[in-house]
Symmetry: C2
């Protein structure tokens, strides 16, 4: 199969790598315009707009917004009806995701300054969050667990999930996962109209404080538009993997690891970086051999051809430097002494350490979240986590004596800024 | 002076409070369109666009982008030339901001699961951040300290500051603060063009990983547009204060505390909530008396008339509930036992505890950041802090034995999701 071959020794390496990575997700102007109209419509007409838009976009025949609600018993039944082996796997995954999330909880702090004043930070959970779950072919129960469990661990009061049901169809495993994760309310609603309803509320859909979860271009544009009115997690782009290999792994394993990203979609990015040219050839051969076994071989082939790459580097330090430039969502360190590379990795959403840690473990059950920064956002953002469902308030408590020196400092700077009420308010305590 | 008077016992209380709060900052369509064009122009023409746009919007006469740079010596000179008393105040403020910030540093963690696998989180600083500082009348040295110091404490490699110089004028105190805070590079650049340059880079301006700092409607719209390509802190709205009083504070102090928000601008929001109707009257009288002393009395009067309110409540519990609805940027607890109220405060950017802790301390020198969530964003977001300049990478390291049970779980869920490459990649390690 076709795949880009790059070598850091080549004069055009930088340009070729940049070209491969150049695909920031940007919404077209028509998408933005359509989304703005949908949001305005939902704000103005509430439930009536939701019913109309859902009937149109999801081919439903709703007569009232009440029909959007999926009752708790329906979710319970979906759970009960699940294949016991799958139920067991989901339960084990949920337990591990919860255990990891417990480690992420933010803690407040307080200390006393040299003047006797108390300073600190108070941490509180969000009241209500909205969880967007894509419908149709990309309706993944694992996403429900990954988004809902950290919110529950954070102490969020109410989790509201929306999932479109195109043509009325709903993935029962997604409903079962919502039951397992303890989602409070579920509505069969999708697209920009779902985001607008969660941000502004309608008669039927409660407004939330933050909206998390992936979606298509319309959902992404809607999240960008309502950001500020509510919090959002991030704008999700196509999935990515970088594997750094010393050439000593089974090439068949590495080929399948690359495919596990490639099968997500034709715009997924799967990159292998190795110090061993012969190993790159062996992985290429293993890809040829193994692709035929996959039901999604067609998607994989396009993805690997368009966005896949085998990169030859001089040494593992250079491998880390190239990986840092990519700032991948997922990074596998398939080398002998992976811990030695860790301090050199500056940007990566999740790091899979050693030959026995494939990225797929992280997607389902290792424990850390599978919602990770994409499109180089690992340079500045975080995996989804408990901390995304908590927020901090600064605490300041002055004693009458401790206030005096602060009054002098604040007064002086406020004078310089021409803010006399600030200065006077401070000096009132002097 | 005129101010809204509300009472929770009134039938129309909810409606009147909602009307008072209804002012989510939303950019007009023309602003968005203009900003999109500016961003496209800067991306396409780089420095040439910056020179043109800056000459046009800031009335400059630049001939090359190199003139945008403010050399290190210029900042050093600004610092040296400062009034020693102001220099001392800024130094003390910086020391306190730094000391508080040290407490906010994120820490990584690692633990071993029941199977012998290692799970954890690695924390790293951002490489390069951009700091937007408004120019002209709202050029505040305190903002430079509040934005730059946490980034420095986080370990950010390079801090790039942009500040417009309308008509070539630059506030020397702002430059001095940049010197004190250890800003690495300064450019006299503002508006959407500054945000575009920081997000995409030009020949002269380096691209950054995150852009922080307040700005006007154009800056806010530009930050929203580049979000995803780079990180942003938040979309800043008008300033807000809520004071909860039991009626036993000096009404003149409370009046001036309300004014310290009101003087920021005509759209600032200053709200006093009290259990004591007579105290509300006394504060109103004190406002009448004290406003005349202020150079910005005109702004204060409009702000208090349009967005100010004195709210009578039944008890302090109700005061907290009303405050939680407002989710204010700043909250003063001017009561006898303020600590008893803390657990009841769910949403507030910063909480000023007790009668001797005016909000103005927090603006300058208490230690906690003065960049705080506005427009009810305290429901879901954080004060600016060290954590905004750090990010997390998940860590997963399986042993060959620990991998086997995970392979079974992941394989089974991947089967259910129809992702066979995921399933096979996991099972390769079984």
């Amino acid at each position: 199969m076709q795949v880009h071959r790059l070598d850091t020794r080549d004069a055009d390496f930088d340009a070729r790598l940049d070209a491969l990575l150049d695909r920031a997700p940007e919404a077209g102007a028509e998408v933005v315009r359509a989304v703005d109209q949908i949001i305005a419509d939902v704000r103005q007409r509430g439930d009536a707009a939701l019913v109309e838009l859902t009937n149109r976009f999801d081919r439903r025949t709703l007569t009232s917004a009440a029909e959007l609600s999926v009752p708790r018993e329906t979710r319970q039944h979906a759970w009960d009806a699940l294949d016991p082996a799958l139920r067991d796997a989901l339960e084990q995954a949920a337990t591990r995701i919860r255990a990891y999330a417990e480690h992420q909880k933010l803690q407040g702090f307080e200390f006393t300054d040299g003047l006797g004043n108390r300073l600190g930070q108070q941490v509180t959970p969000l009241d209500r969050v909205g969880l967007y779950v894509p419908g149709g072919k990309a309706a993944y129960p694992s996403s429900v667990l990954m988004n809902a469990i950290p919110a529950r661990v954070a102490g969020v009061d109410e989790i509201v999930m929306v999932v479109p049901a195109p043509g009325g169809e709903l993935n029962p495993v997604v409903l079962a996962a919502a039951h397992l994760a303890g989602v409070d309310r579920v509505f069969t609603l999708g697209g920009a109209q779902a985001v607008a309803a969660l941000a502004y509320g309608t008669q039927t859909i409660p407004s939330v404080d933050k909206i998390v979860g992936p979606g298509n271009a319309f959902v992404a544009a809607a999240k960008r538009a309502v950001f500020g009115k509510v919090g959002i997690d991030s704008i999700a782009g196509p999935s990515e993997i970088v594997v750094i290999s010393d050439g000593a792994s089974d090439p068949r394993w590495i080929a399948m690891d690359l495919f596990s990203q490639a099968e997500h979609g034709e715009d997924s990015e799967s990159i292998l970086i190795s110090t061993d040219a012969a190993f790159l050839d062996r992985v290429a051969a293993a890809m040829d051999e193994r692709v035929a076994t996959l039901p999604r071989a067609g998607i994989v082939e396009v993805s690997i051809r368009e966005r896949g790459a085998l990169i030859l580097v001089r040494d593992l330090d250079e491998a880390c430097a190239v990986s840092n430039r990519i700032a991948p969502e997922h990074l596998e360190l398939a080398v002998d002494a992976p811990r030695a590379l860790l301090p050199k990795i500056r940007h990566a959403g999740a790091i899979f350490i050693g030959r026995h840690t494939p990225e797929a473990f992280g997607d389902y059950c290792a424990g850390p979240n599978h919602v990770l920064p994409t499109s180089r956002a690992a340079r500045f953002s975080n995996p989804l986590g408990v901390y995304e469902f908590q927020k901090r308030s600064s605490l300041i408590e002055c004693t009458p004596e401790g206030a005096r020196p602060l009054a002098a400092i604040a007064g002086r700077i406020a004078d310089a800024e021409g803010l006399q009420a600030h200065a006077q308010s401070a000096r009132d305590r002097a």
